[in-house]
Symmetry: C2
């Protein structure tokens, strides 16, 4: 698709008449909306519209639909596979100002938010209610973005992913109509699961403008610990046995020695530079005690040191902040470096093999790429630390990434556990799902967005 300058000018006039200064064509604004936190090159939209309501999103899309101009929804720009890069130009709809928490139903353990609400903002808002929203992808992403990429993160091993924690969505369709995908009942068998269809659809089927989220009571007891292992395999084997034992651990994060070294330097920790797990337990006082004792015994069996407990809440925050800054700490390992973050997910029994073989690949390479992962789900990340101006490094990262993905797929895993497809994983979808499943996705896309205006060039 290519839109002529003439058409763009007409649309710009219409959008400016409607939104005033909230429709911008300033180069700096466009560039800021043309790139996420990934390695993919900037593709700036032709203009950026800052929406304040579902109704406004609907009007913007109606204008774009009439002119067949691409529409790219934008949250916080923290995605990792080029999801928001406007590869065909068009209009970026910035939803950041739609950041109201519309209602909290404490008695139903749910809340309704606009898509621009950030996850930290939500949890700060909720604190006095004794409730929290568990999904935590690390970045302070928007809830809309997290829904659109089917995000998960550190707590998913216990609380599930975005798909498990959304009751319904309000969506603006590619023709501007507004729909609601369901009510607030905890479960429903009323027709096709439109909620789940839109979760993870990366803005290619419409724009999510309201989200009803499940909430949880803040656990009576929370405790966190770090533990170091003689080698990475022992750490992973401990995770596997913990999961297989059915222990409802809330967080179990792996960091290889490269990553531990990086976060020691970046976040001022002094962990032994060894493969480590960061753990968190949620429950009653007694439950947490039982869980941590059992996991402690498992880790010991695999040669681990004693748990180092972080008892004070502020120390716990520091620990998880350090974990969340893993990618930034990796980037700081090298001056002017960029990060190429990739993620795969495999059945838990394959995790040790998958990580060990990947580690062996990395040992043979000159590239630095810390391994970090939500290993309780079988999900882990490589963060290639690259000089983006060096084509050899890029090529090597590309090859290692392809090898990692082929390995995960050969183990009945997926090319992305939580980052999404965006631009970067498109070429792997066919080997993962086959031509037939892709043709079903293509049929869904063209049924709902026949002019291919919604975030074109992504997923398919």
């Amino acid at each position: 698709m290519s839109v002529s300058q003439e058409i763009l000018n007409i649309a710009e006039n219409e959008l400016k008449a409607f939104l005033g200064e909230r429709c911008s064509t300033a180069q700096a604004v466009r560039d800021q909306h043309g790139k996420d936190e990934s390695w993919h090159e900037t593709c700036s939209p032709d203009m950026v519209c800052f929406a304040k309501s579902t109704e406004e999103v609907s009007q913007i899309i109606k204008i774009c639909a009439r002119h067949k101009i691409p529409v790219v929804p934008f949250g916080a720009g923290t995605s990792l596979e080029g999801h928001i890069n406007a590869v065909e130009g068009g209009v970026s709809i910035d939803l950041g100002q739609m950041n109201e928490i519309l209602s909290v139903h404490e008695e139903d353990l749910d809340c309704v938010v606009q898509p621009g609400v950030r996850r930290k903002q939500l949890n700060e808002f909720l604190r006095d209610t004794g409730l929290f929203f568990p999904i935590d992808p690390g970045a302070d992403a928007t809830i809309g973005g997290m829904a659109s990429t089917r995000a998960s993160g550190t707590n998913a091993v216990r609380y599930g992913t975005m798909k498990d924690n959304i009751l319904n969505l309000t969506v603006v369709l590619p023709d501007g109509r507004i729909i609601k995908t369901g009510g607030r009942a905890k479960k429903s068998s009323a027709g096709y699961d439109l909620t789940r269809l839109y979760i993870g659809s990366e803005g290619t089927l419409g724009v999510i403008t309201e989200i009803t989220l499940r909430l949880y009571g803040i656990p009576e007891a929370i405790s966190a610990a770090t533990v170091s292992f003689p080698d990475i395999e022992s750490a992973v084997q401990s995770v596997i046995l913990t999961i297989q034992s059915g222990i409802p651990i809330a967080r179990i994060e792996l960091l290889d020695e490269v990553q531990v070294d990086a976060i020691n330097k970046y976040s001022g920790l002094d962990l032994p530079v060894q493969a480590s797990l960061f753990l968190e337990f949620h429950g009653t006082e007694q439950g947490v005690k039982e869980q941590s004792q059992t996991v402690g015994e498992i880790c010991k069996e695999f040669g681990a040191d004693d748990f180092k407990w972080t008892t004070k809440p502020e120390d716990r925050s520091k620990l998880w902040e350090a974990r969340h800054n893993a990618a930034y700490s990796a980037r700081a390992l090298r001056p002017n470096a960029s990060i190429w973050a990739t993620d795969v997910c495999v059945p838990i029994s394959k995790l040790a093999d998958c990580i060990m073989q990947t580690k062996a690949d990395l040992d043979k390479s000159d590239l630095v790429a810390p391994i970090v992962g939500h290993v309780g789900d079988g999900n882990f990340h490589l963060s290639f630390v690259l000089d983006m101006d060096n084509p050899d490094e890029l090529k090597e990262a590309e090859e290692l990434n392809a090898k990692l993905i082929a390995r995960a797929l050969s183990m009945d895993g997926t090319c992305t556990g939580e980052h999404g497809v965006g631009l970067g994983k498109k070429k792997y979808l066919q080997s993962e799902l086959g031509e037939g499943a892709l043709s079903v996705m293509a049929a869904l896309k063209s049924a709902l967005d026949p002019d291919n205006i919604m975030n074109p060039g992504k997923i398919l």
Copy 2:
């Protein structure tokens, strides 16, 4: 759609050449496949094909697709809204012989089954592994049917519904092609969620021929109890507070005094004829103790009697068997009666209002309709005990059902928490979801099944 006898004869010849005696046109076989356990009238298919493999299902569908003959997938026939009734005739594909458990990955807590596997069969098979599959809709349904209706049941309050417990599906598309919707990774962000699109699609988008299920370790400790309340509102308020307190209860089932009376008679129990809860706790010894103590205190606050514990496993089985036979026990309240079972689901805070208002409606009516429910999810059922030859009774049930659903929708609930849409709930979908969302569902349906051969007349 109407298919000429001539076309049907050609298809019959082709199917018989392919399947031999496994393609039947015997009236008794057709009638048996023309009605589920609901009140909807029998609509027999023109023939019944007994498939033994995914490849056979594919071949059958290819023949039907070529002649544009309706295809209705059939599992155990235990659905409750006329899902398998062949309203436009055509071919019923009986998947009951596809009942192999193909693999159990104990180390990954998953298994792969054919769609005709029954839930009891699966759990008997798994017993020695120490694992179990929790979803339990009461009837000994097939896993394929449970997936197709997005079933849930007594354990859903803790373990979720079918949508939360399926990792991937093999599906035969309406043109006979075979797809797989994903791998065995515990989570994935690789494109549109085809798995969830097919879960709950009631055979209208294709036929599910393989299911990868999540399994759980059998809890270290399980204990079950019954408890009686002075009135139904106290029972419901106890449930609401239990859920709001975040207690990870495994089962919390409400039975009103009419239902208790019915199961006392049918299953030889001697419970006080009062509103009651059936409870089950899963966890460690200590965890179960903590949970049951807290719930006991909550119930006591609302005037309940002491818990009656069923300590022996065989007593526990008897208790849940009695609960599962609720509908049959209701039917036995009256000679030659039929049951019209309906279900709604509302946010938990609305549950007491919804049930009390419904109870008041029933008190004003001559109809008998026990109330029973998976109340931890806000989900409950009415079982109208009817003389189907009495049009006045049918009309009254219809009106009470409509009133119940309007009430649930006004409370932001759903017209079906777990039974599905089938024929019976079609007319309520628009008030629940609105025209826009229904048009999206219709667009999906016609994109994937343009000739409308897959279970026509259901959902939409």
